[in-house]
Symmetry: C2
Subunit: 822 residues, 2 copies
């Protein structure tokens, strides 16, 4: 699987050979023929019989418009790779050009070896054509099923982010990335050009963006195809690129002449890249180069009929999808289709059996150098386990529950630093300028933040090479990380909880990719995509309402249970245990939500490991009834702030309602709440009942939107007794406890909930209820007067820890902690 | 409220007057002083006593870094507006610069008239300072509470989209938009520069982007501040702008000299804009101009202490938030704060009472020309009702249920065309290149798609002026529409259902804005934000799995019930009725999901109106038990494809299980399912029971993820009998019925569900169950063999409609309908 014959970054040395140019033309015609065939034909794949309507698929679904351009570039890259022995990946922004990539991998021989029923003969061709976008067949997009692909391109915008993610720490790899001019209008793509400021020419690979201006989207022209060449060139220069502009297909120039021109241009660009790589090897501190990129202007639907039914089709948006929708039923259209297919002269392309003739595949690179066979696109093959230092060594000493207040994510950062130090070539952390704000900046002790733009004397931790990548774009962070993971490496993405919604749709696509990949035998498992969400909903002191949203969890759990995991560790030791688990896992998306503000620790490291292994359990230190015995009420918590408030509520109950038997349950692994038949982590009903009882009131303090807990548990026994407090979109505030009060998640409210649900408590409890209500109002008045929470709340400490030094376990004022970047 | 004194687009005529320059300097110092005061001070607002720790807030929360730059631009815009009488809005990308905008509106007098307890004296100043980012006070961001704002800027990326949205159809309006260099790294912002290709100089307003390069984000330098001036200028030229570069604050140049330079540069830019406007008035077909934009390079935290604790603070990321976090407790920091505040020389800025001296406010424009008082930023003031043609006139004639197969969105399009024709100056439709694909292109009969880039002879419906705006960026569509609505106009955004998740986070911010605005008395209601989501999960024939996601509904219902509405009309007439309602509504987000494929109609227009008014109801034509009588089973449906499958299931039941009493319930308004205490549209339990019974099995065919129905109904009677079928992330397929089968939402499965839940049906039903299971398998095999669904399924017609002409009510092959752009 290694690229033993590779000689990366060599120069061309000579002009393209005539036989290569001829092969390129044959290869291109073949790939185009196979693409049209996939979209239209059920049978008669070599047109050796007269074409009839019966040979045409009854439902024509797929996209032609972008495909010939993709094939054109593939053909030329093949020659360049063959002659230079350059390891290369191909990323297709306009992923609906699926037929082209399937055709290419078929011609590479990769498809036939991967899917054994596709032989190199007429029967194989028929099967190749039929299966495309057909029930039980393959998707119309460049999907996980497509060899050589890490990028579906169904949702547009991420081609360059994925390409750069693949290039990080792969110094020998060229990533040729097609950017469609439709995709180029998306926001994520528009900023991803700037990725070149985060690439080290010496230690990273190279991305060659190819902006394919075919001029049209579904039903409109594209912006970049309709600005002047001068503006377009300025734009690319402004993005830090040196553009090579190529125009073809608009006049009657012969194909081989076009190919000769493009081969020369590609050689020039690749030679320039080779020179940059050589210069960087010599001088790692060289100034950021203007990396080559290619502007490829061609007609949309290039080589399809110029007109259909009197309307321009080639070089029109009409070529976007299926230009001849009625070819099966309309004789005139059938004739047009016949002429179109025959225009590629299939008789020159296939031998007697139906196999491509030798000249077609003469430019196919050998072995792993074939883009459809590169191991980088099946990253699990290259995946090495992380060297993980023992997280136990980084834990917090917890002499008693409620002691050792720490910033949980900062503690995690000390372990991540050791992880980073041990895995400097295949582990990266991505953040949208929130690494330090989320408190994991200890990693910067052992690596820099990648930065290949100007430096200032006051800069800290910026360097050409760095395993932390920060740009203020969640899209870029997500896209880079996906590209990095899909090519067989490890990493995490830390973000503010609220703004991770910015990548909701990217998460969808990655989860779908994982779901399908798990069903494809030759796709090997990759490292999980790990989120660390901090600066969460309950502590937006600096920013307020716009920064409060815990709904990413809700979004994530809509995806297939087999690929999503959600963790809400209540303190630092549990966070360490959870994250160790996440970094070892494969093929999941792990969502971890953890606070960055100083808060008490509850569990020793051994207890934390035990608790995280169970995922949910009874906290005996906080319960006043033995585990085997039925309580009067269960107080459950999930999330760090809810756990704090739940324990403070239990403290009140112990003092004020000493006879009440309370069980405390904590949930780390949210998926434990689901039925076992719905999620692999789900508890059985018996396990659930042992925690929550079947008939006692359960007061559940939850980090997010309360109804998610109901959604997960509605089939459980005693669900009618479950009362959930969580975030309910009330929140412009600047003090932590006021925030909890606004959403009725505070300790006083939780005790009032208990009183409301245990009628046997009687009149004394009714008096207490009034007192607690008064204390809430008093706390609110205090905050409004003084701008901070009352000291007895702010500095509240769990009873066991009182009297110890350094145990201000409550929600401390940020002013006192200083340096709080948000 | 009208800008009676306005003389838009006049030229300056002369250099800035000396007294204006002096006032600008005073105004800027005052605004900066008030900004620092808001962040730090509880008391002693005029520093007339020695500053002590007690005067400093206990929790220092807010952001200084961006604020002085915002104030600088505001001061200069004030002069320009005053001298030119130019109606102007100010949009602040870096919205965390809230203190600056509050200071500005305070100096404008707007704040004092809006919030009467803020008087122009020392007591008013104390209150102004205290309330900032304080419990019970105002947010730290440019929030709905801030006069003159339509843009919070809490989540970054949308400043220019909002600005252009405000400029559309406002030919006299200048929108000055600050783009922070942090924000400039986001994807949405990076593509939004291209908005200038969608602006008509003659009939739209003008956006003046001001890229504020203060060099740093939270903890990093910014990309655009660290590329060469040459690259930056190329980038802006590539975006179609003429950049004016201004640098200030890095040396000892006197303030008035800086102000003189910037006033001249601003005059030059505004004069050039005035010339463009004059040219456009003369020649509406003029070529797209290179619109001026300003690059403003200043230190971050400009005018704060250069160093604190020996570390660079001004011109550093350290100035981002609160540079002196310990001013209350640390004497040295208190001294620094004192010096900082006094550096603005407050004694020159305020009179004896504490009111700003006359020279400070000498550059304040009059009345509505004050940016903080512009009616455009309180769009409800300017809102005119749409002229709505009677949608009944556009309905489908439905002689019997199951007849009149139509593409629902295409029918809607005919009405939208009439709406457009009647409201050509205040109604817009936004789409990411999906208008035609979603079938509402009839609107193009009466207006063009806005397009101010090059034209080609083959282009259709493109023009400089057009009320349809299409760019392949969901972010742009959402941002433009928000800006358009917030300035008092109407519109809708049509998108593929799956990819509306791209704007999940933007929806969050808009919903939060609406929620808060409803609580602010002076904010007047604005038109609702209307989505039309088509090309939905069940019909992704061309695209498959990556294009399937019905989860936006789940996302939306997490927001405050008072601002969100979700509709799933089952046919064309109900879609018309729903959309008429949406276009009349105010202050909501309306999500409407509707199919674009040919499908039968079920209700006459009168029935549709009745049904939509109820939101959910029994369909008697499909029930075989009178409404007052208890059924054996309820079959419910929500969504067009589920309704079709549910009715087909009932057809099978009528034939095969004639004795079974079936009630059919259809839900249009999803929020009807919620408890009445949770959502204004929620049914009472009595209403719910009347539809669903309290104890009969309910088989519910739902458009989206099934658990959402459980979440909405878990408190209802009989919830244990509710069985929901919906989308479960299974779906690579190319035929409609195969898609339903993959997700167990098909007619056969629904009948099998009934059999499983009505045990009294006995052995005959068990045989039927086996037969239905066989038919499913047979349908699947057929699709895999022929590439289309079996004819009896594809062409199934509701019994009442059989024998009528033109009633192919099933899910037709797209090939047969042609022109299916996806």
């Amino acid at each position: 699987m290694t690229e033993t014959t590779a000689t990366p970054w060599t120069r061309a040395g000579e002009e393209a050979r005539d036989d290569d140019i001829h092969s390129i033309d044959l290869w291109w015609r073949t790939a185009n023929y196979l693409s049209v065939g996939q979209i239209y034909l059920l049978d008669n794949p070599l047109l050796r019989e007269p074409l009839t309507g019966d040979h045409v698929k009854p439902r024509l679904v797929g996209h032609w418009g972008t495909t010939p351009g993709l094939n054109f570039v593939y053909a030329h890259l093949n020659r360049a790779i063959l002659r230079r022995k350059q390891p290369t990946m191909y990323i297709i922004g306009p992923g609906h050009g699926g037929p082209g990539l399937v055709a290419a991998s078929f011609l590479d021989g990769t498809y036939t070896t991967t899917y054994h029923d596709l032989s190199y003969d007429e029967a194989g061709l028929k099967r190749l054509f039929t299966q495309f976008s057909f029930p039980g067949g393959i998707p119309s997009h460049v999907a996980p099923e497509t060899p050589g692909s890490i990028h579906e391109g169904g949702e547009l915008g991420y081609a360059l982010s994925h390409a750069y993610g693949a290039a990080f720490d792969n110094p020998d790899l060229l990533v040729a990335a097609i950017v469609g001019d439709g995709e180029a209008e998306t926001g994520p793509l528009a900023t991803s050009w700037h990725s070149n400021k985060f690439i080290d020419p010496a230690t990273d690979g190279v991305v060659l963006p190819i902006l394919h201006l075919n001029g049209y989207k579904i039903a409109n022209p594209t912006v970049l195809a309709r600005i002047s060449d001068e503006e377009l060139v300025h734009l690319m220069q402004g993005y830090g690129h040196k553009p090579y502009v190529f125009v073809a297909g608009f006049d009657d120039e012969g194909d081989e002449s076009i190919h000769r021109r493009f081969a020369a241009l590609l050689d020039e660009a690749l030679d320039e890249i080779a020179e940059i790589k050589a210069a960087a090897a010599e001088d790692p501190d060289m100034d950021r180069p203007m990396w080559p990129m290619i502007v490829l202007r061609t007609p949309k639907g290039w080589t399809c009929p110029p007109e259909i039914d009197g309307k321009r089709t080639e070089n029109s948006w009409r070529a976007h999808q299926v230009p001849l929708a009625s070819a099966r039923d309309t004789e005139a259209h059938l004739q047009v289709l016949d002429g179109w297919l025959r225009s590629y002269r299939p008789e020159e392309l296939f031998d007697e059996d139906g196999a491509p003739v030798a000249e077609v595949t003469a430019i196919t690179p050998p072995g792993d150098l074939r883009m459809s066979a590169t191991p980088h696109a099946n990253g699990g093959i290259l995946l090495r386990d992380l060297t993980l230092p023992d997280f136990r060594d980084f834990g917090v000493d917890v002499p008693t529950p409620g002691s050792s207040p720490v910033e949980a994510t900062r503690v995690l950062g000390t372990w991540l630093k050791a992880v980073m130090a041990a895995n400097l070539d295949n582990f990266r952390v991505f953040a949208p300028d929130e690494l330090a704000s989320n408190r994991i900046q200890a990693v910067l002790d052992v690596t820099d933040k990648a930065w290949n733009a100007a430096l200032d004397s006051d800069d800290e931790h910026l360097g050409k090479r760095g395993q932390v990548v920060e740009m203020l774009s969640e899209h870029q962070c997500q896209g880079w990380l996906e590209g990095y993971l899909l090519t067989g490496r490890h990493g995490l993405f830390t973000s503010y909880e609220a703004f991770i919604h910015i990548v909701d749709s990217m998460f969808n696509q990655h989860a779908k990719w994982l779901k399908i990949s798990r069903e494809i035998e030759w796709r090997r498992p990759i490292a999980s995509l790990n989120y660390l969400l901090s600066s969460h909903v309950w502590r937006q002191d600096h920013n307020g309402f716009s920064h409060q949203d815990p709904g990413f969890i809700d979004h994530v759990v809509n995806k297939k249970a087999e690929v999503v995991r959600v963790y809400l560790p209540p303190d630092a030791n549990t966070l360490l245990s959870v994250y160790d688990h996440c970094l070892r896992s494969r093929d999941y998306v792990n969502v971890v939500v953890a606070g960055k503000q100083p808060q008490a620790s509850w569990l020793t490291m051994d207890e934390a490991i035990f608790h995280c292994t169970r995922g949910a359990g009874i906290w005996e230190f906080a319960s006043n009834v033995p585990t085997g015995e039925e309580p009067d009420v269960v107080i459950a918590a999930c999330g760090d702030v809810p756990t704090l408030e739940a324990l403070a509520a239990i403290d009140i109950i112990r003092t004020e309602l000493p006879g009440l038997k309370v069980r405390m349950v904590n949930i780390v692994d949210l998926m434990r709440l689901q039925p076992s038949e719905e999620h692999p982590h789900g508890m059985t009903d018996l396990e659930y009942d042992q925690l929550f009882t079947t008939d006692k009131p359960v007061i559940f303090a939850y980090h997010g939107y309360p109804w998610l807990i109901h959604r997960l548990t509605y089939r459980r026994n005693g669900h009618n007794n479950l009362h959930v407090r969580g975030y309910k979109e009330e929140g412009t505030t600047t003090t932590p406890f006021d925030m909890a009060m606004l959403n009725d998640l505070d300790r006083f409210h939780l005790v009032m909930d208990v009183i409301d649900r245990v009628p046997s408590l009687g009149s004394r409890a009714a008096l207490l209820r009034q007192k607690l209500d008064d204390r809430r109002m008093e706390a609110r008045r205090y905050a409004r007067l003084h701008g901070e929470d009352p000291a007895d709340i702010r500095d509240w400490v769990w009873p066991d820890a009182r009297g110890l030094s350094d145990v201000s376990a409550g929600v401390s004022a940020t002013a006192a902690t200083g340096g709080d970047n948000e």
